[in-house]
Amino acid sequence: MNKLPETIEIALSVNGERVRRSVSARQSLADFLRLELELTGTHLGCEHGMCGACTVRVDGEIVRGCLMFAVQADGCTVDTIEGLSDSGEITELQSAFVLYNALQCGFCTPGMLIAAQALLRDEPNPSRERIREYLSGNYCRCTGYQSIVDAVEAVAKQRAARWK
């Protein structure tokens, strides 16, 4: 049997830009984004899928960037906090996070924003309980979550009012 590679060439789209790199098979998608592409808004907290700080979107769905290898994103479309921020997709959420003081150290914030945006996309009018449940996969060690839930709830209401 041919020897299997430890380094693989991949091509993917990151925040709308075509990227081609040679990656080590063991490199996580989150490390690839941070170290190879210098997209350091994706944070690495626990590196075993518990904390949610590394949340990114792959082909439109949120995933843990630490639990996927970069090589597995070959051919995929990846969106990071930088892309969502630049495109204006999460402007309302970002403003609400500031208004409600929904961050202190900010380490969890990129993951929180991407997760919150995923929730509001699929369920435009979630209850507070539902917001809490959905964000329970993202740890914040500063705020006690109250203000984060406030901010997400406020954006849901803003959007609902606009659609009326």
Binding site: S28, C46, Y134, G137
Partner: protein, 283 residues
């Protein structure tokens, strides 16, 4: 907290995956959703020389309804089960269990087959597979074979899968008309592994239980079917639940979450709730 070095293979077919497995045996691990395997790699609990990424194998994913069963491909993501209309209609127990499986971002990657092949004793899907009488479809060097859930789960993280075999699907018999199900789980935080959980399936005829299958998880080295409790409830009304629970025999081991006595107590409380819920479910 980074994965150790490994060589990477991305087969396009089951046959190709089996050939690589045959070439590397115990040194290779199958990479499906990776939501348990990658943490194990990062924590250096596992250090396989070769990872065989099955994510690009066509035909391993999806839910299909046949004449007498529902087939769930091994690579079917949890989120697909959560939102599948076929699952909601034919196997509602799986839909009921899904919100308890970790979190949305994990469910977007984690797979049905990965969860069953790992056989974590506190996982939801193995218990559901046992409660619903599923049969696992396994591909190997000598072709396909089928193993019922009772014989598939062999112990702590142990299954009937051989080192040169790949789990490709599970077939769930289409429940007879009138069958209902209920699911419950106690965890310290939402999305954590269960301290104890119960999956129940059966029918309610004229207000009485029949053909119950009650499976506990998080209280043994594998999903545990409570046959004495099932028998004690046969042809009994919901009013008999408390009394029947006295026949519940579980032998949980203490873990980081709770002592054995606590788990036994919680199992009884939870089973009471789930069975009442079952009794109040109309088909």
């Amino acid at each position: 907290m980074k994965a150790p070095r490994f060589a990477y293979a991305r087969p396009a077919t089951v046959a190709e995956a089996l050939a690589i497995l045959a070439g590397h045996g115990d040194e290779a691990r199958i990479l499906a959703g990776g939501q348990s395997l990658v943490p194990m790699l990062n924590l250096r609990v596992a250090a396989p020389r070769v990872l065989i990424d099955i994510n690009r194998i066509a035909g391993l994913s999806g839910v299909t309804v046949a004449k007498d069963h529902v087939r769930i491909g091994a690579l079917t993501r949890h989120t697909e089960l959560e939102h599948s209309l076929d699952i909601a209609r034919h196997l509602p127990l799986l839909a009921q269990a899904m919100p308890h499986v970790a979190h949305a971002a994990i469910r977007n990657r984690g797979t049905f087959g990965g969860s069953c092949a790992l056989a974590d004793p506190a996982a939801e899907l193995p218990a559901c597979a046992l409660a619903l009488g599923a049969t696992f479809v396994i591909a190997g060097p000598k072709g396909e074979r089928r193993v019922p859930a009772e014989a598939f789960f062999r112990g702590l993280y142990a299954t009937a899968l051989g080192s040169e075999e790949l789990l490709v699907a599970a077939e769930f018999p289409l429940p007879k008309p009138g069958r209902v199900s209920a699911f419950g789980e106690l965890a310290r935080r939402h999305g954590d592994y269960a301290m104890v959980g119960v999956a129940a399936h059966g029918s309610i005829a004229l207000g009485k239980f029949a053909d119950l299958r009650i499976v506990f998880f998080g209280v043994g080295d594998r999903p545990v079917r409570a046959t004495k409790l099932e028998q004690a409830l046969e042809r009994q009304p919901a009013a008999a639940i408390e009394r029947a629970l006295e026949s519940l025999e579980l032998d949980p081991r203490a873990d980081l979450q709770a002592s054995a006595a606590t788990k036994r107590h919680l199992a009884g409380v939870l089973a009471g709730r789930v069975l009442k819920q079952l009794a109040n479910t109309s088909a």
